[in-house]
Symmetry: D2
Subunit: 391 residues, 4 copies
């Protein structure tokens, strides 16, 4: 049953700033809802756009104090660090190439960071950031939001407890269809423009945008470490500069094998992230579009459908469950769970020497390094005709 | 496509109070998340429990100013009406028998009301409330929350546009299983206690708790008016004072026929609200547990799956859609849509003479009267061995 | 696992005749495939149509000896009874009003009967037939074919073993859409013509054609006996002489309650027979369109999906399973199972005093009487404004 | 709509023999049901087992004339070729290594061959057989039975008509779980013994048994030709001699890309063959376990569910459809469709110079060569660490 986990902590919300996420953006609004959902954060400052007019208009729309709407992240980091009521944490929701500079600036300013994925557009920056987090001791949360779904937590817990036995096969996929045609040329879709632009996205297209989510999810649930991969990246749409379809064979340490498919040109798939894991004793299947269900298939027994909040769900899922079974929670709740975990970590950090419960789970800067390494390895393997490549 | 409807209005959140919803309650927490999701409301006062200690503790947990945690709704109505920064609206989330008194008090104090369903525990009170709303001109929103789901709005729009032709058959059902055993006796489940107690719930058990949701949904989507009904109420669990299973035959004005089934003793159903509508040209099917999908079955053509945010979804759904297709929205988002509509109505009321767009839809006090009339008619019909009964 | 139940008995197929089922018919061809599937029957004679030319052409198409293609069932019964190699059994696949006369003739001629449902078009005839079967001791099999599906057998076995506890609620439905428009007027659809004609079908339209299947299935699985019913029959299509939509409330002996819906005007439903049963310990759900699956929902545990041939399936299903799980069996296999059971009964009858295993299950003439009684009770109740009516 | 395609040809069934398929076998019984279903074949002779006692007992069980139960296929080919009522066709249902010798013998004896897949256990034999078929002009049908499903025919027709535009991505998979443990050691499962034995199966395990089905299906539906592949074969179960999991990357001529996964160690999958195809204009998805449905996803429109016999199904599916939509057809009907096509080809061959309609489709000896080439290429690629390999 539901564990009544609701946060709504009484000792005041965490003061939050945001970099990016102005008008026309997608993920910024998602971060704001996620931050609001449990009453743990209050958005008080922003550098919402690199375009000053858009930044100002966006801030007004959000009811920010005009004084705390900044023209640049650098200015914001500097000013907020000085204020007694300055932000304690910042959300970075810019295109990939603009994750590193603000992340660095805020960490150095002593402000916790919640950063969208992938961590950076090149691996070298990702490693620098990891080192900086280690050095500063600040909280750094990467929004691989799919790890926030209760049934994903459930799957992870089941694997960790050995319910599946030894893992043999991992099948991850993330098909979408929104780039089936060359929408980046129309200009109408701001998302399409930057996500297909190597300057803003880095070397990976589909592999960076969604393949990295699928890979992160596979790691999160199975706990397996990748040994090598063989990748085939394709740009199906003529003139597109980055891959829009990627097929990867995976060899994990310890002998498990896997396949990963990510595509943005697969008509009929809106956001088809799916993970299937098979072990010596049973299997699991989870689909993002129907996130409240987890198929558990013990070998030699009927399939079982575990539901969020239901009888078969354990403590790891219960912690991040808001409403009873049958009342579906979705993408925003899953995203909000990452924010709720971030809040727990930040509140623990507030209490100097405060211990964070080991039940609290969020994607870290190290996960981010792993993700960027995955992207770079895929690109490298594909360039070498699919040669097996180490991360 | 998604219409970027996000609210997050800049001119300050609406000050909200709450009656009920203290520790151990279920629906209060849901209302609070719903109120927070779009940044439209700020909870600033509460009479959270009739138990003073629980009220106080609950208020502290929510970070309310202790001064604005009241011992009774009456006190709260009085005090808040006087404050310059007093609440503009109140959420009433108490058991059914405690909807009428606070609703009356707040309306009379000039405070808008958002009230849980069913409207009241007896029809006479419901009618009084409707008259009072009319007289005061205050905003009154009944949280038949399922009408907030985008795909329910889509279904309504399609019926209204004649896509289904003339409606012939309506099949509504709402099975659950949580009362399969006599949990009200254990005391552990506070929900079970009051929902099976005629003093707190009124004359209807399952019919009042969930049957009324199913009936409201059927009316909302089809726009049909009920003529008469024949109902069979059963208490399967020995010693239970209210019905836990209800079967109803429906005759609508104009000739359409329907069936409605609600049960709390149907193992395997967590929260199985489903509506199916059939007309001369096609059919629709929607299931609450998978709310982002709407099956549309034009006669003589392949079935089509319309998805929230997807190509087949129209303006009515787009208005209340937050994230792109494939990123599932759930129960809380649907609930929050009712709050967002309430916010629009309250903001229009702020502007004296402000017009409210007719696109804004929420369940009204009249819908509440209809719902209580439905419950009473079912109870009456069942007592007369299923005789056809007018509302 | 699969029990290798294949029949293919070596001591020669059973010689079969057929009444009806000539060109343009639907169910005759189905019976022939079902009879052939396990190699248990050989079609050797027929009175395939009341139209002599059609009868002849149909017989030629099927490769019958022209001498054994008869102009009438009466002639066939007489002639075949005399032949040393005469038919041992006959399949009657005519419209409802033409079940009784040939059934009577063949039983009296000492020929076993396999008869399509409903048994007869009026109850008096049904009772006469039941008496005649008793008197003659012949095998009489009614093709309520849905009872032949392995997962239906599985459901019945689970209920009989008490897996569901005491049954409380039974929800049966059988929606179709093929009579949404008045196709009987076009003449193109021979099925539609006779099935909407009271002279050929009897007093029931949808209730007789498919409602009776749903009712039979509910009885077959639950073993419950109906006490009374309240029915609402509607003819939605203007000018249609029989009901095309029927809603029924059911009260079973012992206190269980139920609902039954059958419709031929529900767009999107091809052949939507579905049964749901709920008891004190768990529930079951089976859908004809996906017949290899049975949902079993033990109260307080995750839902389980039992599959034909799979680990959770028992002996009753195994007996009638041909191929391993995951290799879907369908409508024709289910129908063929009724024929295979008929073959076992006929072979047992061949051995004078031969005992028939009690595992062998098929719908009997008594089930047929019950079915016709159900139709008549529904018609009667509906005429009395839905009054509760005994069977 | 259904095209009333039933065969049941009047001019006498085709006399059929069988090699293999004695007691304890699986696929032999399936072939016999398939052959019987449309009344097109009559089994009259057999060399049912290499074990004489088993051969004899099996023949008796099937009611064969003892004289036509042969001790070896060679004897049978010789004897039957001489009889005036000798078999016209033979079904070969032995383990893979025993396909070539009897196929050769019967073709040389002037008897048509229906042979189980894969064609042979080595490519050289496959090519010899293809040459022999060409030389003799006999009918040779390979039972890649999944191509017999109506919705697979529908998919093929849609691709051929350009409904999907240019094909970009093909995702084929065929997971099973029956070899999750080392059942071949128990001896209880005759299937497991020979299918994991390189001497009987050839060099491929899962890749040969089921991977080749998935590959054949992908080719059948898309019409694409494979250029090169990169494969990873794994034997997860300790001591197993052949692969039980295979992952393959595919590059088709013309630029389409694909992935293929076959596994026999994936708990929860009974027989999970699935094909997904994505083009510039839309996608298709078909799942063998639910074969009456075909998802068609036109880009930018709601998904559509095409059903066997339903409004969206075309002529290619209608030809091989027996019963109306909603009356599910399954594995045996699909298999029987291959036999029905074989019957049409054999009847055309009976009429010297008889033309075979080009609508008649069945897997040929050339498809068999392609399949064996696929297996060998996968084995070769995997041995070379997944190097890209030509067929």
């Amino acid at each position: 049953m539901v564990s009544g986990r609701q946060v709504e902590s009484g000792n005041g919300p965490i003061r939050l700033g945001m970099v990016g996420g102005g008008q026309g953006a997608f993920i910024g609004g998602v971060h704001r809802i996620a931050a609001r959902m449990d009453g743990e954060f209050e958005l008080v400052a922003g550098a919402l756009s690199s375009d000053p007019a858009r930044a100002k208009a966006s801030a007004a729309e959000l009811g920010l104090d005009p004084e705390r709407s900044y023209a640049s992240f650098a200015e914001m980091a500097k000013a907020e660090a000085k204020r007694p009521d300055g932000i304690e944490a910042v959300s970075i929701v810019t295109p990939n190439n603009m994750h590193f500079p603000p992340a660095k600036a805020f960490l150095e300013a002593g402000i916790h960071v919640i950063c969208d994925k992938p961590l950076t557009s090149i691996l070298a920056d990702a490693k620098k950031l990891a080192a900086l987090v280690k050095k500063t001791g600040m909280v750094f949360v990467l929004t691989h939001n799919y790890t926030g779904y209760p049934m994903v937590r459930q799957a992870r817990e089941m694997v960790a407890k050995g319910v599946l036995g030894d893992i043999r096969v991992v099948q991850a996929e993330y098909p979408q269809d929104w780039l089936t045609e060359k929408v980046e040329d129309t200009g109408a879709n701001k998302q399409a423009v930057w996500r297909t632009d190597p300057k803003q996205s880095g070397a990976g297209g589909a592999v960076g945008d969604i393949g990295t989510h699928a890979y992160n999810l596979a790691r999160f649930v199975t706990g397996l470490e990748l040994d090598t991969l063989a990748a085939e990246l394709t740009s199906f749409v003529k003139g597109r500069l980055l891959d829009d379809n990627v097929s990867v064979l995976l060899r994990f340490k310890g002998g498990a094998k896997g396949m990963l498919w990510a595509s943005q040109v697969a008509p009929g798939h809106e956001n088809g992230l799916k993970l299937r894991v098979y072990g010596t004793k049973g299997g699991l299947e989870w689909t993002q579009a129907d996130p409240n269900y987890l198929w558990y298939t013990p070998f030699g027994e009927p399939k079982r459908l575990i539901t969020r909040g239901g009888a078969g769900a354990g403590a790891a899922a219960g912690r991040v469950t808001r409403v009873p079974p049958g009342h579906p929670e979705g993408y925003l709740e899953g995203f909000a769970n990452i924010y709720a975990e971030a809040a727990r970590a930040i509140r623990a950090a507030r209490r100097k020497g405060g211990k964070l419960s080991k039940d609290v789970i969020f994607p870290t800067v190290e996960d981010g390094v792993e993700g960027v390494a995955f992207i770079e390895a895929c690109v490298k393997s594909s360039k070498k005709n699919g040669a097996w490549t180490k991360l």
